[in-house]
Symmetry: C2
Subunit: 438 residues, 2 copies
């Protein structure tokens, strides 16, 4: 037996085991996220983790499909994949029942997602991601609701208003500038957009050298580019060729977001790009303001043709995705993670084998009243040892039933934090225990 080769106990690389302490934390995060989106009338959906490979080949970016997808051939010779993102599935589900679904559709999900990545800070192969989407509202009011919700989720975790910034732009502001102000040919538009997107990751010299090759009149146009990047939505009118309706929608959106008290959390930023091919309207990205975690937390935007792959119907949507690892890093960076204790489980030690029926009876009475109980099943350990196990398990309250208490219909309630105990009558048990948790 002992000579057998033993299997390793490690989990698959780039993933996490969730022991009860980890799971309590994860459930705490999910509970707050779900509660917040439900307050806005969003309904939860889910779908199988494995989908046809074709779904991703069609919708998901090259990099993911080629290098990061967990795809394989199933035992029936179908090419399938473990989902790397929820949006293709969402589009498939909405397209399938579009005619029967009353609009607007407000849906959310917290899917488990898989990408074959080199694991690193905040980047794992398996993660969970809150996906929130609204379909069927063409006006900026959908943006208003989605951006409010994106903020409310962080507020629900007690994030202060200055802990994050939602940077907002509109795809048509950028394309208007590229096409009409810079008068770029279509082939150059995307190349310039990509350069603007990575501007902060490269040196000024490199940026100017690379962009000059793409501009029609490098000297003048570079000035325009810098002035565009520094513009706010009130100075956008200065650029020729940016759709005035879009500018006016942007102004309305900002004005209504301000009325919601979100002034401090939002910022117009024409430099944000986000998936050039994918989004067609407003786009936004939420950044942590903590200099030690200065990264994009999450983002989203409007897509006008999500279900176009499946049907000829048109349906415009806007949504965002917030990953659990990213959120955890944000909460840590602002010290927003509370201690999540098990103080609402009562522990009942066993002092003597013959008292087991009595302790089990007490346990079952408590359970019938929705109070969780962990009780000792065998009298193998002294009370002191049982108490130290209770402490190790994170329990705060103990109910101790000795022979004397059993015969006098009393029980001892011990508080392991306050180091206090009191005797209570069994008839007051529920009331006394419930009062511990209010």
């Amino acid at each position: 037996m002992s000579k057998e080769k033993k299997l390793p106990t490690e989990n698959y690389k780039g993933t996490r085991d969730f022991y009860p302490d980890d799971m309590r934390f994860r459930e705490w995060m999910f509970r707050i996220m779900k509660k917040t989106v439900k307050l806005f009338g969003y309904e939860e959906y889910d779908a199988p983790l494995i989908e046809s490979f074709d779904l991703y080949k069609a919708k998901t970016g090259e990099e993911i499909v080629g290098r990061q997808l967990y795809d394989f051939i199933d035992k029936g010779k179908r090419h399938v994949a473990v989902r790397p993102e929820m949006t293709p599935t969402l589009a498939r589900m909405v397209a399938s029942k579009n005619r029967d679904l009353p609009k607007p559709i407000r849906w959310f999900s917290i899917p488990n997602l898989w990408r074959y990545e080199a694991p690193g800070h905040g980047r794992l192969r398996e993660h969970w991601q809150l996906n929130v989407d609204i379909f069927g509202i063409n006006s900026y009011r959908a943006e208003l609701e989605i951006i409010q919700l994106a903020c409310e989720i962080l507020f629900a975790f007690k994030a202060p208003k200055n802990s994050f910034k939602v940077k907002i732009s509109h795809r048509k502001i950028l394309t208007g500038f590229l096409k009409n102000t810079l008068k770029l040919d279509e082939a150059y538009e995307q190349a310039v957009a990509k350069l603007l997107d990575k501007k902060n990751k490269i040196s000024k010299e490199e940026f100017e050298k690379d962009i000059s090759v793409l501009l029609k009149n490098p000297a003048e146009d570079l000035k325009l580019v810098y002035s565009y990047l520094e513009s706010n939505f009130e100075t956008l009118d200065n650029f020729s060729g940016i759709d005035s309706e879009v500018i006016s929608e942007t102004k309305k959106l900002f004005s209504e977001l301000k009325s919601l008290g979100l002034d401090e959390c939002i910022e117009f930023d024409p430099s944000i790009i986000r998936g050039f091919d994918y989004y067609t309207g407003f786009i936004f990205e939420v950044f942590d303001t903590n200099p030690e975690n200065k990264r994009s937390l999450y983002g989203g935007g409007r897509y006008d043709n999500l279900i176009g792959l499946f049907s000829n119907e048109e349906l415009s949507g806007i949504g965002f995705g917030l990953g659990d690892v990213t959120l955890e890093n944000f909460l840590k960076s602002h010290n927003l993670i509370p201690e999540i204790k098990k103080h609402n489980t009562i522990f009942i030690p066993l002092l003597d084998e013959k008292l087991f029926p009595n302790t089990l009876e007490v346990a079952n009475i408590l359970r019938k009243n929705n109070i969780s109980v962990d009780l000792t099943l065998e009298d193998k350990q002294k009370l002191g040892k049982q108490i130290s196990i209770a402490e190790k398990k994170g329990y705060r309250y103990l109910l101790v039933l000795g022979e004397e208490e059993a015969s006098s219909k009393k029980i001892k309630l011990k508080d392991l934090i306050k180091r206090e105990e009191k005797e209570i009558n069994l008839e007051n048990l529920i009331k006394e225990v419930e009062s511990l948790f209010v």
Copy 2:
């Protein structure tokens, strides 16, 4: 555009899409299961859906690994698999931290599981399964708790006591009978056990013909087999060679289960087998008593060497697994599925574009008080149309704010089921709305 080939909207075969109505039902089931096991002090865990293939090769049955496993080679050339069951992962996690985990360990999980099966009634390729396990208690008291819990879960769904039966046996009763009463060689033990297991699925003639080949003295031994199958734990002493300690533990277990009021739900049945190689002590299986769904709902048992694949430490456990599809079929067969409505979401229609700030303000006040609100974002539809959408979405209560109400600080509350409405003062809004949900 319209000439493009469109992608199909079907999900992968043998799986389910969970639209919000389906999801609400699933969450309702999960919530009741979780609440019940938490009342017994069980803690939730989770783990990555993809594990090393070796984990299953070592622990999971031949049929699953060879024919039903979703295994493949990842992009780093590792042989991996999507989990078909949770137990190997559970064993890995417990083995990894065994020394640090205070005993007993009471854990549960509701993992998503995948098996490549021919989809059929109650059998899908993807399902969820409540897994409940306790480790570190060697006596029948762990069985007592686990069987009580298995019953309490069904009671939590309002299942009557006569709607299911827990059939209980002990592996050592069977092996004692095979080895010592029938005096079978080890090689024949398993063959006879397998025959006993499928006895009710084949004809009496076939059973007797097949078993006679395996028995030492077919004529006499067949009588013993029949009398064994009809025995209860009080007549087990009549068979020579069945461990008397096991018989005495069985008696204690039944007596304590009866004290819990579970008499009607339990039954000793020496014919139940369940994974001959796997379980080492008590085994049990829960059957639906409805003649139209007369199938095994779920079952479990004790395994003494779960972590032996990973370490030389010994740890005995007992657990069970209850699938979501199986549970749903049981609930349907006993008419235990309630209507799960969205009556606690308030719907606020929009009568006029200029009233939007007012309706949004009302919505946000309600949300701050933990009341869910779905509000209309654009004034594109008449009130009648908006109400019919609200009904289609399953809402019961509407708050209607017209110009008159807005100026007089009042709002109309409509009940779509009772077809009533009343005017309330905005200052009483929260109190009035909260009173709808008590």
